[in-house]
């Protein structure tokens, strides 16, 4: 009885619009024509024949994997660092979480300026140190735009990973480390044989969650590069946006969204089937 109204609201404001958006992929629907005519699989057929779709999918995978790896590395580094009793740990913990709290628009604009070829501080330093002779177009270069985007998203969301990893590290039984050292294990072996196995479920969860979010990432890429230069950062969400708001074809855009949903659903099934996160938590690894 208590959840009834909330469920109704959820259905009306979330599930119904989602259902509409997903079924729209089976209809011909453009922005300027209010008619919706049944298209069957025509939108999907059109999509699968577009080279741009496969290119965007590839870029999405590169962006997702690159960004998640960076976030985990960032999180692992700061998680391990902040787990130690170092001077200023409290302040550092606050600073590490700061990127995650900043609005995306702020991060986008700030990094646009920092890495700007003409006015950015990074290029100024590179030029002053004679590391480069001409400014580097980080977000404007064909080979630098995607790594730069990965760097920015890695920085923004690495703190999320750091928080989860830190929480898990603090729950590891210290006797495991004592036992390892008694057996003659050094720092590296302790990390490899004690810390990492205990972090496994956390790292997998971070990879899974962050992977989904990075695969769907639209805002930061749009703010900074809008998918450019020359589609170098055009991931699937950007590609879908273009179909919807440059070609004004909502039917095809919805079909592309359905494809994205299918991909993420497949990944989720694999994750829950083969990594069994609940079992790992129960075992207490």
């Amino acid at each position: 009885m208590a959840i009834g109204p909330a469920l109704i609201l959820l259905v009306a404001t979330a599930y119904l619009p989602i259902a509409f958006a997903l079924t729209l992929g089976f209809f011909h629907r453009t922005a300027f024509d209010p008619r919706m005519t049944w298209a069957g699989l025509a939108n999907f057929s059109w999509l699968l024949h577009q080279p741009d779709l496969w290119a965007a999918l590839w870029r999405s995978m590169v962006f997702t994997i690159g960004s998640v790896v960076f976030q985990i590395a960032f999180g692992l580094f700061f998680g391990l660092l902040l787990n130690k009793a170092i001077l200023g740990r409290g302040l550092m913990r606050s600073l590490v979480i700061l990127p995650y709290m900043l609005p995306t628009i702020v991060i986008g604009l700030v990094f646009n300026w920092i890495l700007n070829p003409e006015f950015g501080v990074v290029n100024q330093i590179l030029l002053q140190l004679s590391i480069v002779s001409r400014p580097v177009p980080f977000f404007g270069g064909l080979h630098t735009a995607m790594p730069s985007m990965i760097l920015v998203t890695g920085w923004q969301y690495g703190s999320f990973a750091a928080l989860l990893i830190l929480a898990r590290l603090q729950s590891i039984n210290p006797r495991l480390y004592e036992a390892a050292r008694t057996c003659g294990a050094g720092t590296w072996r302790c990390f490899w044989d004690v810390t990492l196995p205990n972090l496994r479920s956390t790292l997998l969860l971070i990879a899974f969650l962050r992977g989904i979010w990075m695969f769907n990432k639209f805002d930061l890429i749009w703010i900074i590069t809008q998918g450019g230069p020359l589609k170098a950062t055009e991931t699937l969400p950007i590609y879908v946006y273009r179909i919807a708001f440059e070609d004004f074809n909502f039917g095809r855009a919805s079909a592309a969204c359905l494809l994205m949903f299918a991909i993420l659903l497949a990944v989720s099934v694999v994750y829950f089937r083969y990594f069994s996160p609940t079992k790992e938590i129960e075992v207490g690894r």
């Binding site: 453009t30 300027f32 209010p34 003409e118 001409r134 400014p135 177009p137 404007g140």
Partner: protein, 447 residues
């Protein structure tokens, strides 16, 4: 044992469906409601400067007092107005009035979403070359226009002992001479899939008499001619010219309109361009010391003196409060503040009629008086430009959206200047893209 709750699963689902239908009902009702609400006008404007907004507010207040019709303004911004218009139409609540470029409006008109406005065009005596005629009816009431032309630093030219460029060779020569990276570049060639790059390519193609389409009388339709014999050489020539000019430009791989202005007023470039005089306004605000030396100039011509014209006007949404919208347009165009509205960005919003440009009322503005050289320049090139949908022929070309919507001219520049591909293959690929889209467009619009 307690009886089971009244909130069964079936009951919740039924309620959900009812709520959903209930939520959808207003939308269905509102489709008719807005069209029938003779006392409301939604006005979506591309021009959103604070000065323009203040004038809109004043005119709207007078309109309300006279007619009892409330005007609600929306300012989605230059880059987002197309999406906003499309969203309103898709939602079944078209705006009564949209003020923006005719190039974008044409797309909407071709989908039969703009009401005919022949009566207003006749009554307000809109110039012939600014009319937008789709399916035999006028769909736009042109209020103003903007031309694409260059801006240059006359002080830097004088210091270098150079005269303003006249043609392509002299343009490249002076850009090279004034090029001293990274502190100063000879010119600015934005090479990205954005509007600023596309309009540069479009304008320079016009300067070289190069075309995207040709009207085929046998087919009674436009066909892609970007890569056709004769024309392709002109497009290659244009692309290569801009590639050479790019040697004296910052990389500009993701530059948009704002970057054109900021690069200029920070003193980074000796030559730039813009679709109007807003660049000058920004220079006066941000770098007043170089404003007097900022002079307008036609972009260099090769085979033609034409340039890209952006026509802006009022467009009335089909299925909206058409009568109220038309009444507003007449009121606006005859209101004493119409001239003030043209002055909201002086010399940038150019009047539709030349006699207005020459009028005392229009010229009686301190900003214009300060820069009568710009007004005289605009007057000197009056009538030489063409909007993109009349560039390829006298009949309206309905296919310009196929290359404009994705800024294909900018894509070509990016492929040439950033990716380093050869011009011919780029043009052939661009032509193939447009043909595919044209075939798709024709197939989906049959019947």
């Amino acid at each position: 044992m307690k009886k089971s709750s009244r909130f069964t699963r079936r009951g919740i689902l039924k309620s959900g469906l009812a709520v959903g239908a209930g939520l959808a009902a207003p939308r269905i009702i509102s489709r008719r409601a807005f069209a029938m609400d003779a006392k409301k006008v939604v006005f979506v404007s591309e021009e959103s400067s604070p000065a323009a907004q203040a004038i809109y507010d004043a005119i709207n207040k007078d309109f309300l007092a006279k007619t009892g019709i409330t005007v609600t303004m929306e300012y989605p911004g230059f880059d987002k107005i197309d999406q906003r218009v499309a969203t309103l139409i898709a939602a079944g609540t078209p705006a009564e009035l949209v003020w923006y470029g005719d190039g974008s409006a044409m797309e909407v008109a071709l989908h039969k979403q703009l009401a005919p406005v022949d009566d207003l065009v006749k009554e307000l005596n809109i110039p012939e070359n600014l009319r937008l005629v789709v399916d035999g009816h006028d769909r736009s009431i042109a209020t103003s226009q903007q031309f694409v032309y260059g801006w240059y630093r006359s002080d830097l030219y004088e210091k270098a002992g150079e005269a303003p460029y006249k043609d392509w060779d002299s343009y490249l020569a002076v850009a090279k001479k004034l090029n001293n990276p990274p502190n100063q570049y000879g010119n600015l060639v934005p090479s990205s899939q954005k509007g600023a790059s596309h309009l540069l390519m479009q304008t320079m193609m016009q300067k070289n008499d190069a075309h995207w389409f040709t009207f085929d009388t046998a087919k009674n339709d436009y066909v892609v001619s970007l890569d056709s014999p004769g024309n392709i050489d002109k497009v290659i020539e244009t692309l290569d010219f801009l590639h050479h000019a790019h040697d004296f430009s910052p990389e500009a791989a993701n530059y948009s309109w704002g970057d054109l202005m900021s690069q200029y007023f920070t003193g980074r470039v000796a030559n730039s361009y813009y679709v109007g005089a807003r660049l000058l306004q920004q220079v006066e605000k941000n770098a007043p010391d170089i404003a007097p030396a900022t002079k307008p100039i036609s972009l260099p011509a090769n085979k033609s003196d034409s340039y890209y014209i952006s026509v802006q006007g009022f467009h009335v949404g089909e299925g909206s409060n058409v009568d109220g919208a038309k009444e507003y347009v007449k009121f606006f165009m005859n209101h004493p503040d119409y001239i003030k509205w043209l002055h909201s960005v002086p010399l940038h919003i150019i009047p539709a009629k030349r006699e207005t440009l020459h009028s005392k009322a229009y010229q009686d503005n301190p900003e214009i008086q300060k820069r009568m050289d710009v007004l005289n320049f605009i007057d000197s090139i009056w009538g030489k430009g063409k909007p993109s949908y009349y560039w390829d022929g006298d009949k309206l070309n309905p296919y310009v959206g196929l290359y404009e919507n994705e800024n294909l001219g900018g894509w070509m520049l990016a492929e040439r200047n950033i990716a380093g591909r050869d011009s011919k293959s780029i043009i052939q690929e661009a032509a193939a893209k447009i043909r595919k889209k044209q075939a798709d467009y024709i197939a989906s619009n049959k019947g």
